[in-house]
């Protein structure tokens, strides 16, 4: 039994996680079906338009965008629980007695949490793939957006795990993660000072970088932003584990 497997067991045996999974699946399915219904209704009016919205523009892109917002809640819960819950049952002892390096511990916990988060978006990915195939939509822009969604999830999970490693109360860790992620979402949507040129504050937000993936070319700066962010946050978690040995 590795730390990775024990982490998976923790999440998969928790009724709360399954309840949240049901709720998110229900919301996703509802929004997906609603958008299809709306698009079908409007399709008659689109018939005469020269630049009528495609399935990608009308359904898939907004749906993937809504998945990013759902993931905001999911990663806040999964990441928020990962270290903060250890304080309840002397779980930090497990990390302190481990003969593995701190980086291995962080990696195993991160990968397990990532897998659980993937479970949350799996039904949506299947729905997106299905609609793309049925509607003969171009694959590249959809694939780009899904990659963007995946990178966004990795980034948010690493950030929430970092927050969790600093907090001893699970509820507070989740709340703090939600506040931080919501703030980042608000920053990305801000058009403050747009008339003065580029709003540099927006570039700090992962959601801004996620929206860059709606183009057909790979936004390299955004890919670097996500990958660098994940490494920095996980490195801070590693430092935090070492630091825990210096304080009572």
């Amino acid at each position: 039994m590795t730390l990775y497997r024990s982490e998976l067991k923790y999440f998969l045996r928790s009724p709360t996680i399954w309840l949240i999974l049901c709720l998110t699946a229900f919301i996703s399915a509802w929004t997906f079906l609603l958008s299809i219904e709306l698009f079908t209704t409007l399709q008659v009016k689109f018939a005469g338009m020269s630049d009528a919205p495609t399935v990608t523009q009308g359904i898939l892109a907004p749906f993937i965008s809504s998945q990013a917002k759902i993931l905001l809640f999911v990663t806040a819960i999964i990441g928020g629980l990962s270290f903060s819950r250890l304080s309840h049952h002397n779980g930090w002892s497990l990390l302190h007695l481990s003969h593995s390096s701190e980086l291995t511990i962080v990696r195993q916990k991160y990968l397990a949490s990532l897998l659980v988060c993937l479970l949350f978006i799996l039904p949506s990915i299947v729905a997106i793939a299905g609609l793309t195939l049925i509607s003969h939509s171009p694959l590249v822009p959809i694939l780009m957006m899904v990659i963007g969604l995946f990178l966004l999830m990795m980034w948010m999970l690493a950030l929430t795990m970092m927050i969790s490693s600093f907090v001893n109360n699970s509820g507070f860790a989740i709340l703090l993660s939600l506040i931080v992620l919501m703030a980042l979402l608000i920053i990305s949507q801000s058009s403050l000072g747009a008339e003065w040129g580029k709003n540099w504050l927006q570039t700090f937000s992962p959601f801004y970088h996620f929206f860059q993936f709606s183009q057909t070319a790979i936004p390299l700066a955004s890919v670097c932003y996500f990958i660098f962010g994940v490494f920095v946050f996980l490195w801070v978690v590693k430092v935090r584990i070492v630091h825990k040995r210096l304080v009572l």
Binding site: K9, N90, G91, S93
Partner: protein
């Protein structure tokens, strides 16, 4: 080269301005059972956490068979078993899963003998959160014994145990002390007298006394006498 099995030299730990362990030194030259006594807040648990390499001392050295945990942490951990006051319990796992997890973390194999020694056979498939306090302590002990330690550290292992379990624990400690250094923090003087060869008395982070016990020693009287004398001083 030092001949002692365990050397603790000028150990200090502070939290802000507060000295929790203050210039504490002692040595252990042969395998024996040592009780650590002292009032609440004396620094016993902090000392045990440092001995278990769960806390890094601000100053001073710990040497177990000449291995310093600050320099060679992984080798040190292989020789130490630590039974914390609050048992390490992952509620979502079964007893077998938890033991396997700790075994993997300590890079050891889980043996049937250990399960039998700690009388855990009947609860192996139970989730940890369903265990009674007694079984939690047994699981706690099994996790500490996984590495077949040279130094076994037990932080108040008898808290909340029924008389049968106390007798079991006593037998396990008697059995272990022939080839292990056993350090037990406790508030029960009668138990300390029964299982220990030596007693360390701590107060306000300092080591007040280091007493070798024999059959005729009256620990209760010695403890009261020593703590009172030092308080007067």
């Amino acid at each position: 080269m030092d001949n002692s099995l365990l050397t603790v030299k000028n150990l200090r730990f502070s939290l802000g301005q507060q000295q929790i362990v203050d210039d504490l030194s002692f040595t252990v030259t042969h395998n024996q059972s040592i009780s650590l006594l002292g009032p609440n807040g004396a620094g016993k648990s902090t000392l045990l956490k440092m001995l278990a390499a769960h806390l890094v001392p601000k100053q001073g050295d710990i040497l177990l068979n000449n291995i310093n945990p600050n320099k060679n942490r992984l080798d040190y951990l292989k020789k130490v078993g630590y039974m914390p006051e609050t048992p390490l319990i992952l509620p979502e796992l079964t007893v077998t899963e938890q033991l396997q997890l700790v075994a993997v973390q300590k890079q050891m194999q889980l043996s049937d003998e250990l399960i039998e020694q700690c009388h855990l056979q009947s609860v192996l498939n139970k989730r940890c959160h369903q265990l009674s306090l007694g079984y939690r302590q047994r699981l706690n002990l099994a996790q500490a014994l996984l590495t077949q330690p040279k130094l076994l550290i037990m932080d108040e292992p008898l808290n909340g145990l029924d008389p049968h379990l106390i007798i079991d624990f006593r037998a396990i400690i008697q059995q272990l002390k022939s080839n292990t250094i056993v350090i037990i923090s406790t508030h029960y003087l009668a138990e300390a007298q029964t299982v220990s060869d030596r007693v360390l008395i701590m107060q306000q982070g300092r080591l007040l006394d280091d007493i070798a016990l024999d059959a005729n020693s009256d620990l209760e009287e010695l403890y009261m006498q020593h703590t009172r004398t030092k308080e007067l001083l």
